[in-house]
Symmetry: D4
Subunit: 220 residues, 8 copies
Amino acid sequence: GFARVDKHRHIRCGFPEVIFCQGKAVDHVVEIFRELASTGHNVLATRASEEMFAAIERTGEFPAARYEPLGRTITLKQQTESEPLGRITVITAGTADIPVAMEAVTTAEILGQNVELICDVGVAGLHRLLDKVELLQSSNVVIAIAGMEGALASVVGGLVSCPVIAVPTSVGYGTSFGGVTALLAMLNSCSSGVSVVNIDNGFSAAYNASIINSMIEEKN
Amino acid sequence: GFARVDKHRHIRCGFPEVIFCQGKAVDHVVEIFRELASTGHNVLATRASEEMFAAIERTGEFPAARYEPLGRTITLKQQTESEPLGRITVITAGTADIPVAMEAVTTAEILGQNVELICDVGVAGLHRLLDKVELLQSSNVVIAIAGMEGALASVVGGLVSCPVIAVPTSVGYGTSFGGVTALLAMLNSCSSGVSVVNIDNGFSAAYNASIINSMIEEKN
Amino acid sequence: GFARVDKHRHIRCGFPEVIFCQGKAVDHVVEIFRELASTGHNVLATRASEEMFAAIERTGEFPAARYEPLGRTITLKQQTESEPLGRITVITAGTADIPVAMEAVTTAEILGQNVELICDVGVAGLHRLLDKVELLQSSNVVIAIAGMEGALASVVGGLVSCPVIAVPTSVGYGTSFGGVTALLAMLNSCSSGVSVVNIDNGFSAAYNASIINSMIEEKN
Amino acid sequence: GFARVDKHRHIRCGFPEVIFCQGKAVDHVVEIFRELASTGHNVLATRASEEMFAAIERTGEFPAARYEPLGRTITLKQQTESEPLGRITVITAGTADIPVAMEAVTTAEILGQNVELICDVGVAGLHRLLDKVELLQSSNVVIAIAGMEGALASVVGGLVSCPVIAVPTSVGYGTSFGGVTALLAMLNSCSSGVSVVNIDNGFSAAYNASIINSMIEEKN
Amino acid sequence: GFARVDKHRHIRCGFPEVIFCQGKAVDHVVEIFRELASTGHNVLATRASEEMFAAIERTGEFPAARYEPLGRTITLKQQTESEPLGRITVITAGTADIPVAMEAVTTAEILGQNVELICDVGVAGLHRLLDKVELLQSSNVVIAIAGMEGALASVVGGLVSCPVIAVPTSVGYGTSFGGVTALLAMLNSCSSGVSVVNIDNGFSAAYNASIINSMIEEKN
Amino acid sequence: GFARVDKHRHIRCGFPEVIFCQGKAVDHVVEIFRELASTGHNVLATRASEEMFAAIERTGEFPAARYEPLGRTITLKQQTESEPLGRITVITAGTADIPVAMEAVTTAEILGQNVELICDVGVAGLHRLLDKVELLQSSNVVIAIAGMEGALASVVGGLVSCPVIAVPTSVGYGTSFGGVTALLAMLNSCSSGVSVVNIDNGFSAAYNASIINSMIEEKN
Amino acid sequence: GFARVDKHRHIRCGFPEVIFCQGKAVDHVVEIFRELASTGHNVLATRASEEMFAAIERTGEFPAARYEPLGRTITLKQQTESEPLGRITVITAGTADIPVAMEAVTTAEILGQNVELICDVGVAGLHRLLDKVELLQSSNVVIAIAGMEGALASVVGGLVSCPVIAVPTSVGYGTSFGGVTALLAMLNSCSSGVSVVNIDNGFSAAYNASIINSMIEEKN
Amino acid sequence: GFARVDKHRHIRCGFPEVIFCQGKAVDHVVEIFRELASTGHNVLATRASEEMFAAIERTGEFPAARYEPLGRTITLKQQTESEPLGRITVITAGTADIPVAMEAVTTAEILGQNVELICDVGVAGLHRLLDKVELLQSSNVVIAIAGMEGALASVVGGLVSCPVIAVPTSVGYGTSFGGVTALLAMLNSCSSGVSVVNIDNGFSAAYNASIINSMIEEKN
Ligand SMILES: Nc1ncnc2c1ncn2[C@@H]1O[C@H](COP(=O)(O)O)[C@@H](O)[C@H]1O
Ligand SMILES: Nc1ncnc2c1ncn2[C@@H]1O[C@H](COP(=O)(O)O)[C@@H](O)[C@H]1O
Ligand SMILES: Nc1ncnc2c1ncn2[C@@H]1O[C@H](COP(=O)(O)O)[C@@H](O)[C@H]1O
Ligand SMILES: Nc1ncnc2c1ncn2[C@@H]1O[C@H](COP(=O)(O)O)[C@@H](O)[C@H]1O
Ligand SMILES: [Mg+2]
Ligand SMILES: [Mg+2]
Ligand SMILES: [Mg+2]
Ligand SMILES: [Mg+2]
Ligand SMILES: [Mg+2]
Ligand SMILES: [Mg+2]
Ligand SMILES: [Mg+2]
Ligand SMILES: [Mg+2]
């Protein structure tokens, strides 16, 4: 086959290779899925189409595989990791940011994390966010997801003492430039403690948050 | 002379032509200043260097002319307009935005407005802004000035019912791109009631705010 | 539900939250529409598809709801506000700008304003615009809508003494870059009294114009 | 020497190579100037520093050479071409555009043209431009020079039946992006009959206008 | 109706308004076509779909209307202007540039010009272009059309003494950025005598060329 | 016909013109294919659709023509060149880069080269690449193909002493900007010996590699 | 004074406000420094000029203040926090990235962290990096600093299981675009576990790393 | 010291590390120069200031070191490699491109190549280039250097059968965007056999050309 799965990654990086499905042939996705599943670890595929999941189901080999249609992930849980006590909070500015949030939630969960999702608390109605301050301040990591002007990351960053991972989304029109405006705003946050990932990259935010949360909890 | 002063503008637009000094020869600035002063109206020159003001002083013709060094304006007050009762509030995210704020304040004052300036209340420390909510809510117009991620405009826009005129500033570095990031954020504000002017354009924000404030007050 | 409607907005900002439909699930739009309608205020939904309106009609709960297909808005008039005496004039450069103009007109009307629409008076045939000067000069606010090179805003700005809110549109091709050229031109207007909103954002222009017009008229 | 002067250009293109001085060593400029002068044709050097002109003067070989400091050209008139009857009109939006206009004027004159310069008639005060309509309409070519939003080209284009060559200038700040905004506006002009040259390229506009004007007049 | 046809344009600019069909409703196109046809002048509609032409045919009112499918123009010839003696040469770099060339050819013809089209003589095989030098040098105006790196304009500009109007096309991929690369190359041509129009704007190039050619020939 | 095939190219450049099919009419492609085939040389058509190949097959004239669906090339082998001994290695970062790699492989093969393809050895799992170092170091040219951050080119460049031709691909999302990020990374490679071609341009990389490899081998 | 120091930040975010000196008046910096020092916490000022430090020294009030000239920070250590056991590793691609690294090192140290700096291990000579793998793999957080093509972040990200915070630097020329290329590359890293901060923002990377490291160590 | 010289590079890549001086401290440059010289290989430092060379001379250790002021390189020849028989031709469009050409020439020479330089043969005067066709066609590699519209690369690419390495330069103004226009043009060349390096990167072009030329000659 064309693909060369990185089988050492679990040892080097603590989690096996994740399948980025976009632009791959359906057959390739199934083949890589099978190869990764055979290691006995959990499997995660992102940017997966329903057609790809159907092909995986058709094999009959992975009855435990699940598809999450909003965030478009396929997961196969093969290990029960003990739940960490600390918490990752995923927070979105609008309802249109939910697909990105779901990619983050599913990723964190398959990585064995304790996640909480809060939606639609954008800065135009600040009280909605201020209602959640306690919850934010008791998190180990916050993932802040926003499109348009991306101001949520800065406001959250000023309210908490834990790391904030900001995800710009492609929600918006005109000069939102498919998420570039939110990205730039987040990179220029006047709040300290904010780092940024690619546009719509809920996966990467959750991966980062998960390794941070795991390291914090491991030490207990 | 090369310049062709627009002498009808006071009639058409309610205020005479304003001298945009940047890129003009010192002699031209003096000549245009003299021509505008001769109409008996107030005179405003923006983006003026100290050298330009010195040349105007040297003529000995305008003892009442004043230079404001932060905002770099020259003003000549020749008319005492009755102060409007309503208020324009100018608010900045950081202290580095003050030069732009001063251009706005001086512009609004020469246009006969009642202005209040609040500095350094950026969203990283939200309580500083929330302390001022009453003052903001009792304004006729708010001018929100911010660089970096420009989130101030959105947060203020969600707190008031009057128009917010947002001014992006060139404060920041790297991906602030000389104010472009703040501009884009402001154009994509999820709060309604926010309109935007060019980067560092304190003058235009104040001009807009002044005609709005004057129209509101005129009707009393 | 995922959505967290901002119910205090009417008190803080003078008008309830507006539903921005783009990117939302049809079910979510119906649910938010119902929640906002239940407050007894007028309801406005922008960027709405015909399918969304059909779903709202199918509920049978909102017989007074209307769909405007060009500007793609859904409105529900539940309050009869006394018409303000002053006027908002909406003006477009070409006929292709009409959808944006209709979003503006519908928004201003549901906000209880007195609106007049003038189309296709772009600067290539200046006499068409000059014919309308009196009408423009007797407005409280002008909304200037143009694509391509966006010169209309500057020319109008030089003819009136009231605020001009400029809306760049995505009309054009090649280097019009989906409205960016018109936006940049408007931000750099050599006329004073022009502020700008996002590309194709007829809603925001009308919202701004409406709060200005209401404040002017309230004082009477 | 390093330079390879294109000596056939007069035959192919009707005018000898023009020296673009920017980025050239002073010695190279003198050497190329001498080589071109030796052909007996008129010589034009653009983007020339005062230091370069001083070096040319110091040679004592070109007593008829002249320096125009605003447009920064060096000219050496060695031929008296019969003045064409038609006219090129150079028109600027502001006084800060004058250096570019002077580059155009000097270029057209050394090419033997009849040029008229009108400055500071930008669209913010339309009457200044309308005062000149007759003059514009009786031109063979109009060169329209403007920075900021560059609207002048569109307005002039709608008033005349001759070709308009638009020159964007780097006058402005913030989102004028060193002339890019004016350039884009001019490329998207809704008026027909407008073509565009590079930012601040008064030379190229005048060169184009001159060959057009010469071709029109030659036919008489 | 919404449209406000500019009926004076023939007098001011020498040719009636041209219908830019893109983004217009089919009904509007028919209505404007009828209004312009009623003046007795020739009619030109650009960026027209086959559907629009079908609608015009269905009216039965314009049996002489013609559709050119590559350049997507509708023309109605109602006047027989005497053919000018001089020639406009339209030249393309590749075969993929032909649609833009056809828009130019049709435009020039309806404006009564004498046009010659040469295709596929890009600079990768220079001899193809050098074969045509005589034809180019005997033109009154050359329209040079190219995508990708747009080098054709510079090479042609160095071979002729008449004006060259360069049209960048959106032919290419990757960093051709939909024609932006060709546009930039043409604006920076090291050959004098080149001016530029918007990407894919065959219409504007032909309109410019036609008024130049007509002015040259008128003088005979 | 519209097309003007460059028949001397084989003599000047060592290989006949290659048909770039994108944006060409199917008929034109067939016509040009026939004309090139008639010279007896090998024929290569890139960016070809299945429909174009079907049309070529339907003619019945080219039974030896082959279609490669991933890289979308049509080839017609008419000459058996002696295989060079040196080797071109094509290497990709991910499996989604394979279509670009196939365009390169097919191009090099029709040009008579000895090619080896290695897929999916991106820098996230460095050992996969280090496994191939010997193979890379024994190549005459390496073609490094990568999307996203394009780091493969720099890492490979630091490992070999032969030229590396880097091809950025449009694989990625958000700020990969359709391959621009990978392109920029490759242009800024800190490794010496890396040159770059357009985004997704497997053809050009292979053409360059082939002429280099042929020149090296010719000398034996 | 104009500045409004955010005195609650220590409570909300775990560290007092940091002084961003760029664009501030020297007097303002001194005043804010004094105000923050009076709280008894450590003080950090970034982007500080030597002149600013001299002014602070001249007051005679802060004998313990130190200036680090490469990273341009002023620090005042007033508290001895117990050193965390875990480690932050700062790693740079080249020697020109050292100023950014020093800003990071100084920031982490004043925040009480255990930091190790490794310079000049860019990917062009991979063995330099591979020599340090053990050191990297035993870190709690890695800060990867690189200009040009920014590939270091991806390569490091593939070698470790802890979070990598990537800092693009403005080192490079031409298409490095002042750090934009490195930024884009880092945002598109094919390695998981990489998040990004603004160009040259060593401070923010260190702040993020410090709160992560502190949270990990606190739990012991 | 901070620097970590890559001493294996000569073995891996065939030439030792080259010192990129820009942004490095003078002391660091001297230290690295000394370390590289001690290996007995030739030494090359690019982007070196006169001050850096003076510091190297002051050490008295490298009497054979030379400074080339146009291309700003320092070279130390310590080995006499046998001159290859094949030739690299460096060709520039204008005289302002000479500094970049000199960086290329010096680099190729220190790498033991046979180089020929041809200046000022830009496409505006094609005959200057056509005069050199034989010389170009007998080269092993051509380096084509041009600013402005960068058309030289395409024209040369169509004339030769050897590889062309194109170097865009920052020569130009306005929309030349510091070399970006030339770069884009070169990446989109319609001639096959052209690859591209970073703006003004004469070094990289020469390095690439040298390894190609050496490989060709080695085989003899
Ligand atoms: N056409 C429109 N353009 C921009 N903003 C809008 C538009 N329509 C509604 N909004 C605002 O967009 C926000 C919607 O956010 P959400 O629905 O939570 O994603 C609300 O604050 C609305 O007031
Ligand atoms: N292909 C075209 N490209 C650019 N402008 C055009 C084209 N065809 C017509 N026009 C002009 O575009 C304007 C159309 O404006 P409107 O039809 O009112 O939106 C008129 O001034 C036409 O002369
Ligand atoms: N995939 C490709 N990418 C870039 N250029 C190509 C490609 N395939 C062929 N070409 C070249 O593109 C040119 C085609 O120009 P034309 O077919 O006349 O539009 C020829 O010089 C071909 O050698
Ligand atoms: N101001 C100017 N802007 C653009 N091109 C110019 C200008 N002045 C001269 N040129 C042309 O630029 C080219 C100069 O090339 P070179 O002097 O060889 O670098 C010649 O073809 C000139 O005709
Ligand atoms: Mg909401
Ligand atoms: Mg502050
Ligand atoms: Mg119209
Ligand atoms: Mg003026
Ligand atoms: Mg062709
Ligand atoms: Mg892979
Ligand atoms: Mg190094
Ligand atoms: Mg020259």
